[in-house]
């Protein structure tokens, strides 16, 4: 039985009187994740894959068990799951390795959508500036949706790689990612799926989706910060060159040359963030126990209430499609007031929302606003949180009388 009230008891921080509605930035961590990290440092800490004493075995087991749990969660093989610092590093790893390893060359076309977070935009754009690849942009509509015809149009320009988000972080649009991957595959185009917002909300099986790569972050799905993953199709990862060189990732080093370790270690140079992976694995175990149908329904319902109630207030403008394609994230503005002032005001009501450009300036420019307020819901939020925010917005004219 899915009960948000029950679930909140697993999150120490939610005992505070606060409507935490900034989950697209980072989620809160349940006690089991915090405890797992503490347990790791108290009982298992040592370096992984190096020594053969018992403690080292325990650390290695914890590390690899997390990898298996996470891989299983997204339907990949453990060898196809590389630990990184997060989505940003995963995408930078790809951009660097593709170019250095010759999988992408000067003159090649790379398509990205304008709905991207800067982390799936700037690495590709900089590649084009510095190494002469060519950018192809997939436009969204006025609500931030990507149409398959726009994707086709871009792909048919002869692109080699398409990097796109499964769910936009500024407007909460769930993209038709399965269909997009299918279109790309038909044309032999490599796909990089940014799963940072998608994976916390939708069960993604990478083999069923058919993406070549997927990047995601632990901290946006109950895990700790500073750890994330990159999934890559094995045969592609085999062909790629390492991103970082150093310890752990080598097979043999001589004065003349170095051969590299097998997957996934080839991409994991240096001592890894083992405690982070332990927390990440524990977060996934927590998520895997939930009834996902109920969770999605609950999140969708709360976000829909926000959208529809905000829309009824004359001085509020809500962005995004406001239909079944919008999930969890509600971007809005108060007429006559800057989003920073709105989020500061909401703070005085103990409501936490983000304001700004959400690291998605091309998308905001496309919908014609420099910044928005963004409320983002996760499954531990309740009607109370949403009501508190709505109540606050309805009273905003008391503090800022010129609004409206």
């Amino acid at each position: 039985m899915f009960s948000p009230e029950q679930i909140r008891k697993d999150f120490h921080i939610l005992e505070e009187e606060l409507a935490y509605l900034d989950n697209a930035a980072t989620t809160q961590k349940p006690d089991n994740v915090i405890n797992a990290i503490r347990h790791y440092y108290m009982k298992q800490n040592s370096n992984v894959h190096r020594s053969n004493y018992e403690l080292a075995e325990l650390a290695t087991q914890a590390f690899e068990s997390s990898r298996r749990t996470i891989a299983n969660f997204i339907g990949s093989e453990p060898e196809e799951l590389i630990f990184t610092r997060g989505t940003t590093e995963s995408i930078n790893l790809l951009a660097y390795s593709f170019f250095v390893g010759g999988l992408i060359e000067a003159g090649d076309k790379i398509a990205v959508t304008i709905a991207e977070h800067h982390s799936n935009f700037v690495p590709w754009q900089q590649l084009s500036k510095r190494f002469g690849t060519e950018m192809v942009y997939v436009d969204t509509d006025d609500e931030g949706r990507i149409s398959l015809s726009e994707v086709k149009k871009a792909l048919d320009k002869g692109v080699k790689l398409l990097a796109f988000t499964g769910m936009s972080n500024s407007l909460g649009v769930v993209m038709p990612y399965v269909e997009i991957c299918h279109l790309a595959k038909e044309r032999g185009v490599l796909t990089v799926l940014d799963g940072a917002q998608l994976v916390p909300h939708h069960k993604v099986n990478v083999k069923e989706v058919g993406c070549d790569f997927m990047a995601f972050s632990a901290h946006k799905m109950l895990g700790p910060m500073g750890i994330g993953a990159l999934y890559g199709r094995r045969e592609l990862l085999e062909k790629m060159v390492p991103f970082l060189y150093g310890g752990e990732m080598i097979d043999e080093v001589t004065l003349e040359d170095t051969t590299f370790n097998v997957l996934p270690y080839k991409f994991e140079a240096g001592t890894p963030n083992v405690a982070g992976t332990v927390g990440f694995g524990e977060a996934i175990r927590y998520l895997a126990r939930l009834e996902w149908g109920k969770v999605q329904e609950h999140v969708k319902k709360l976000a829909d209430v926000l959208i529809h109630e905000l829309e009824r207030i004359p001085y509020v403008e809500v962005y995004g499609p406001k239909d079944e394609t919008q999930h969890s994230i509600v971007s809005f503005n108060i007429k006559g007031l800057h989003p920073h002032d709105v989020s500061q005001y909401l703070n005085s009501w103990k409501v936490a929302v983000r304001s700004g450009h959400h690291c998605a300036q091309p998308q905001l420019k496309r919908i014609g606003v420099p910044a928005t307020c963004r409320a983002s819901v996760y499954f531990y939020n309740t009607e109370r949180d949403v009501e508190r925010m709505l109540e606050a917005i309805k009273n905003i004219t008391n503090e800022f009388p010129w609004v409206g």
Partner: protein, 147 residues
């Protein structure tokens, strides 16, 4: 709510609602400043004659804090010599960063005292001032080149 009132005082709100220094100055030097965290932009224009600021205005989009602060700054810059203006700006930035500055030297900038308790908003209050400082340095460079 009281805490909010410390930040959004009636005086600040009145500056925000009556932005009498807003607009461009034709033929004057302008410089754009950005707040990287929120993407806000402001452009400050200074018209200088014989080393004295004869007109100061700004354009741009921002929150109550950044816009009211820009208004106050432009008012205060009027008829100041460039070196005086720079001193005044440095004093305000120091004040906002929590340093001790004699209150009598701050003038209307003292109205922003409440913002100091909100570290994430200090950069809103100082955006116009940092931009003007950079512009003044540029203008001084031009002057000394000419001189």
């Amino acid at each position: 709510m009281d805490e909010l009132r410390e930040l959004y005082t009636d005086t600040l709100m009145s500056f925000y609602l009556a932005p009498d220094r807003k607009g461009k100055i034709a033929d004057a030097q302008g410089l754009e400043g950005k707040n990287l965290s929120c993407g806000d932009r402001i452009k400050v224009f200074l018209q200088v004659e014989d080393g004295v600021i004869k007109d100061a205005k700004f354009t741009g989009y921002g929150c109550v804090i950044s816009q009211s602060s820009a208004t106050v700054m432009c008012r205060m810059l009027l008829n100041k010599r460039l070196d005086e203006a720079k001193e005044m700006i440095d004093r305000f930035i120091d004040f906002m960063q929590g340093k001790d500055v004699p209150e009598e030297l701050l003038g209307d900038a003292l109205y922003f005292e409440g913002v100091r308790r909100f570290p994430s908003r200090v950069k809103c209050a100082t955006l116009a001032w940092h931009t003007a400082k950079e512009l003044i340095q540029k203008l001084k460079g031009i002057q000394s080149d000419a001189g």
